[in-house]
Point group: D2
Chain length 247, copies 4
């Protein structure tokens, strides 16, 4: 199984508080959580094609996406390509503020906004409650698992009704949110997972690693018969975009 | 529209802390919330047939059910009758610990248990978040509405996947629960609503009254064609049970 | 309640077999089905802004959309505008091949393709089966209602899981399809309805009229609290597009 | 993985047309479909405890249930026990008219009736369409698979909304039905599959065998944390029932 982790990792964001928690970027921390189980590649926004070349995507089974502040700088053709590949069966895991990324917005058809709630420097305690205990993503995850500090997300979270709500997140300030949700688009399975603000070491927690591992296995391309797929091939990068990067 | 409110209102429970909040019983408080909109009747467990005579149910559009400690004393034939009428189209609203009642358990096919969480004398603050903003039951309800004190319910709440989750409840201690859920059984529409512990004046709150009013309107029997219904008539009380009460 | 019916009604399509069934266009037939219940406007693709001016959309509660062969000629800004208004609460009913329109594709995030099945000049008999008998759109509709001739659609129909499947369509050749489905995007309620090929008089049938009437009432903007909505205003036409049409 | 197949196989039914298709009973045919993948046991209604002893159920991962005409003769305590074990995590596959069995009715809380439609000696052609192509139960199953002859089931099929509809069945006479549906009750995963009338050799078809194999793997008990389960142990047979059988 091949996993590709995209992190915007914008040069402007490489200092500051996040750098203390993830000095080599969130993608590196997530890679550490997964690399004993899967073959893992990473991509960042400042690379050619935002790091998501056809060659890399051709071999990717599941794409993990973390982004926050620079979503507008993702190339439209890269966003289209990612959307198309997901619709054709590539698994996808969108993390935290990755809900605001171009691919996620295009797959959902909604604003993907959440209610803003006040929170402090240390975040809020979050407990993850399981509402689909038999879902493969919840396998082995204790109910009410405590994340000591996180950015609280709060309903109303403007997404289409999910196929399944796997986790609810309950925060110390009474905020709550559907924190783990699955969606299907075409033959692509999508998991959205809310925890993961870049100033908290959530992606160094092995229980979170177990959730992501479960999610990768669940999201892997299904063995669907050919006739459920689009007849068209997935969209590839247009030549003019290739020219832009002189590739 | 005719609404019947069932409250166990067991003689053993008529004193104590609950009596300070609802001296005439929860059914009377709920009746006050609804009686300017609907024709409202009440029934209590110590009445003949637990108050739910065929005559009363024959004219009932929506049944509201509150119970807590005496579920085992509900007559099996009354429970069967209530289940059957719901399956034939009578609307139903189950409140709070009414989730443990015989009719609700038989309609759900699960244990309907929730995770136990610690709470104190004053309860916990609960905020009601709307996750289906266009649902008729959420009409006009502000998002994040605060109930000052309630018994915290917490996931995992063992019910079948609901048709729709209308509200989440987030508590001050980080507990959270699907606090408003809809189900359909046969042609009967069912709303479960979690707030309503008998030592808090939740049923004196006009916003809660608005939710219940919306729920009654939503749950009212739909104008379904005859051929979607069971061919059998709804179950009526067996003669031997009638004899028991000499009616 | 104000309803706007969009029909592509391309000049190239105004002759031929469809013209025998709907000499004044499908929009005119649908208008006749609805105009005793609602205030109804129509729009066609060859009008300025594809007929969907801000002035018209500002007052529209529910938009009905029929299109087939000229989806690519819909202005992108009109498609964006329609999507945005639906996300902000305008109801929408997409009919038949309107599933391939730009707004529907953007709202769904999938290909919206169906399996191709062979059919003849006279179409196939379609029976509409109700799978959500208590849904307001099914109110008063007999189960198994026969449409004498229609274009058979067949699964797999590549849409996200609907909020509710209201109707299944079963065809004389054994094809079947989820023929009536609801979706929510933001605060906009969407109904997709499969029958309505332009060479069959389906939109002259009062039972179909009853379904559309029910769907308009159901899809009407809900009284949602302000805080569930996007903070941004719905997208309006850009000035450069206005200039294009010299308006 | 251990699979137990229950078949009512009532002595009164062992002759006739079904006996020509399944001379050793449907359970034997299904066992042949599965026995190279799983350890398979069978149980029939005329055995002590209807064949479903605690010893057998203790080791059963997934129970397959076929029944038709003798549902009332299933012991209530056996039905209770089966329900309880499913709620505690045992997988279950209910086939065809097994929808009318006591355990299925108690798990669903509805009548589980379907619309009656006319059909002849040779049944109707049924095509199985996949509406959840990425579901594990659909893995490798061609879309529109043809079963040459089956008893047509038709909507409205009075079950609660399923977690997922995997297959639709479209019949040559235009009838259609949700032919493959999943449900969860407690931590038990349930698959209902409509094909399988006892006068057609459906359970000799390797594609049907593949669906059942997929379903067994899918329904196998999930590795859920202890705290999602009931605190009570699953119900076991009461001593008085044991006494009845002198065990």
């Amino acid at each position: 199984m091949i996993v590709t982790i995209f992190n915007e990792y914008h040069p402007n964001e490489r200092g500051g508080k996040a750098a203390k928690v993830y000095p080599e970027g969130i993608h590196t921390a997530i890679k550490e959580l997964l690399s004993d189980k899967f073959e893992v590649y990473t991509a960042t926004q400042d690379e050619a094609y935002n790091g998501l070349t056809d060659e890399l995507l051709d071999k990717t089974d599941v794409l993990i996406w973390w982004s926050k502040n620079w979503d507008n700088e993702i190339l439209n053709s890269v966003a289209d390509k990612v959307v198309s590949r997901i619709q054709h069966g590539m698994g996808a895991i969108f993390l935290h503020s990755g809900k605001n990324s171009k691919p996620f917005l295009r797959l959902m058809g909604t604003s993907c906004k959440t209610k803003e709630v006040a929170w402090g420097e240390n975040g809020e305690r979050e407990k993850l409650y399981v509402v689909s205990p038999t879902h493969p993503i919840a396998e082995g995850i204790p109910n009410g698992y405590l994340i000591p500090g996180e950015e609280p997300y709060c309903e109303y979270f403007d997404v289409p009704k999910p196929d399944e709500t796997v986790f609810l997140g309950g925060f110390g300030n009474g905020a709550c949110v559907r924190a783990g949700m699955t969606f299907t688009r075409g033959t692509g399975k999508i998991f959205y997972f809310q925890p993961g603000h870049d100033t908290f070491p959530t992606y160094r927690d092995p229980v979170i690693g177990k959730i992501l591992t479960n999610a990768v296995v669940w999201a892997a391309p299904a063995a669907v018969a050919e006739d459920y797929r689009h007849e068209e091939k997935p969209v590839k990068l247009k030549q003019k975009v290739k020219n832009l990067f002189k590739l």
